[in-house]
Each structure stands twice: as C-alpha cells, then as structure tokens.
C-alpha cells in the first residue's frame, strides 16, 4: 500500500456526479481540482450495508472540507451506472455533494495497493492528498468497521495548521523561511 510522502497515482476514470438526466457522468483525473487538497475514500461495494452511512457522513461534512480547500472523491470498483442506481435508490445518497469515482479497471485501487486479494474489491481506505499530489494521511479499516469522517477532518485541520509566526521560534531552531 502506498504511504505517507508518496505521490498519489495517476488515473483517469468516469465518475457519477449527479442524478440529473444528461449530467450524470464526468471524467475525473488525478489532475482535476488543481490547487486543492483531495480526500479520496474507497469502499468495497455499492449497495452494501456499512457504506451508505459513511458516505453520507462525509457528505454532511462536505462544506467543512470545501472551506478547507479539500475536494472529497469517493469511489469503488463498481461502474458509474451502479453508482447512479445506488444514488437513485438510497435516500441518504440522493443529494450527495461529491463525485463517486468508478474504478472499474481497478487502476487506482491497484496502484494504491488497496485491492483486497481475497475479495478482489477495494478495501475501506481513505487518503488525504495535498495540492502537490503527495499522500499525507492514510486510514484503512477492515471489513465492516466504518470510518469516522470527523476524524479525517481533524487530521486535515492539523495538517493545514502550521505555526508560521516568528513568535513561535525557539532558540537554536531553524529559521522559518516564508
């Protein structure tokens, strides 16, 4: 599995972005959303039990993430049509404010090293990626244990908070060059 400090893999996939007829799908790549942080989170399969709660949980915090210049991108190995069907089908997903990536060719999950060898689908993995495309946080849980979106927000906050004031400098430490 890719870790902290490594570059998030290149990819180009179709994503389900809306339930509006004619506007459901868009192509999203690793270069989309320049200048933003990205929160990529993957789940094993659409239409399963734990996932909608988590996904909706991230959806509820979307404006908080957006305020911190972070774009949420959810995904699984399901096709964009399965994503659309699921969003149409499940009350909690109807108004989802972020795209669902379709990693049908498993290009993202394989490069990330989160393709589960037994099941052949994505593990429940979350990555925070900075505007330079570098992975800054990795969070993976097994099977049916859901994630805590607030925790990811807390980490993003911490990653973005630097003591930049010279008041913070201690004797003998390196100068901050701003």
């Amino acid at each position: 599995m890719l870790g902290i400090g490594e570059k998030f893999p290149n990819f180009e996939v179709t994503a389900t972005v809306s339930r509006t007829k004619g506007k459901e799908f868009e192509t999203i790549t690793s270069e989309s959303y320049p200048g933003k942080w990205k929160l990529y989170f993957f789940w094993p399969k659409d239409f399963t039990f734990v996932c909608p709660t988590e996904i909706a949980g991230f959806g509820k915090l979307n404006s908080e993430f957006a305020a911190r210049d972070a774009q949420i991108l959810g995904g699984s190995i399901d096709s964009e049509y399965v994503h659309l069907a699921w969003r149409n089908n499940h009350e909690d997903l109807k108004e989802l404010p972020f795209p669902m990536l379709s990693d049908l060719k498993r290009e993202i999950t394989e490069q990330l090293g989160i393709l589960d060898p037994k099941s052949g689908v994505a593990q429940r993995a979350t990555f925070l990626v900075d505007p330079d495309g570098i992975i800054r946080f990795v969070y993976v849980t097994e099977g049916s244990v859901g994630r805590n979106p607030s925790e990811v927000l807390r980490v993003l906050d911490a990653l973005q908070t630097d003591e930049l004031c010279p008041c913070n400098w201690h004797k003998g430490e390196e100068t901050i060059h701003v």
């Binding site: 930049l164 004031c165 010279p166 008041c167 913070n168 201690h170």
Partner: protein, 186 residues
C-alpha cells in the same frame, strides 16, 4: 456631519484642541511622511486603526488606505491585524505565564495568512510588528523586530512604523471619547 461618516483627513482636522499634539504628529508622520514607502505607511495606518478598535477611525482609515494600496496590500494589512489580534494574545500568554511548559506545547491555531498574503514579506512583518506594539505582546515585538531586521529593514524604519502606530492608536482613543462626550453648552 457626524464623525461616523467623515473620511480620514477631515476627521484628523476635526480633532479637539486637547489633541493638538496628535494632530500635528499625524501631519508630520503621515502627510509629510518621508521614511516609509506608501505601502508600508498605509498598511501600518490601516492595521493599527483596526487594532485600535475605534469604529470611526477604522472606517475612515480603510477608505483612505483603499485609495493608496493595491487590493492585495489592503487585504494583507487587514490580515496582519486579524492574525495579530489572535497571536498577540496567545504568545503574550506564553511569555507571561510562569509555567514555561506552555511555550513548548503546539499552538494548533491556523495562521496561514502569514504565508499567503502575497505582498513583500518585510512590509507584512512591519505591520505585524506595529499591531503587536499596540496589543502589547513583548515576545511578538521581539520576534517580528528580529525578522524585519534580518530582511534588511533598519531600526530607523522600525521606529517610524512604531511612531505611526502610537499616533494612530491615540487618535482612535480621542475620536471615541469625542463621540460619547456631550458637547451641548451647559
């Protein structure tokens, strides 16, 4: 005309007799400024007006600064006042507290504006220094002073900035007093 709606120059001119010294100091330091660049001067006036917390002064100073500063510099000066409002309290606590442990604990306060303001860094640091002088944080004064000197700013320039800060602050206090003082003849 009420004090609220006056722009800066008429506001200064309307200062009462007891503040004549302030009026003249403002005249030599701001109107006859020869030591600071226009950006340094007006960013100092604006950030210090905000730190002084006088409605009339802040409103007039913002309007005056808008005519003198680029959009980016104006926002940067406002950012300096905003962030120093926070940092001056936080770091002053750290250096005043007898328990030195606080100085070793992470601040966990966002202050990304210090990095992203987009103007010349020595000017931004001068504004931070000016606001720190008003808010009275010794640790902040020392560290910002050190930073600007490392960037080549002279002690004379620092003094010029602090003079402006001092006078702006005093004018703010007088304006506030004048607003609430009953002027009607006895």
């Amino acid at each position: 005309m009420s004090l609220d709606s006056q722009s800066l120059d008429p506001l200064i001119d309307s200062l009462p007799d007891y503040a004549k010294d302030l009026k003249l100091n403002y005249s030599s330091l701001v109107r006859q400024n020869s030591e600071l660049t226009p950006q340094q001067l007006w960013g100092t006036v604006l950030s210090c007006a905000m730190a002084t917390r006088s409605d009339a002064l802040t409103k007039a100073a913002t309007e005056a600064a808008r005519a003198q500063l680029s959009e980016q510099a104006l926002t940067a000066a406002q950012t300096a006042a905003a962030l120093m409002g926070m940092n001056n309290i936080f770091y002053r606590f750290q250096h005043l507290a007898s328990n030195e442990k606080y100085s070793t604990m992470p601040a966990r306060l966002r202050m990304n504006g210090i990095r992203t303001h987009g103007v010349e860094s020595q000017d931004f640091e001068l504004w931070c220094l000016a606001v720190s002088a008003i808010n009275g944080c010794g640790k902040c004064i020392d560290s910002h002073e050190k930073v600007v000197r490392e960037k080549g700013v002279t002690e004379e320039t620092v003094m010029a900035v602090v003079r402006v800060a001092s006078v702006v602050h005093a004018i703010g206090a007088v304006l506030d007093a004048e607003r609430v003082t009953d002027k009607s003849p006895v």
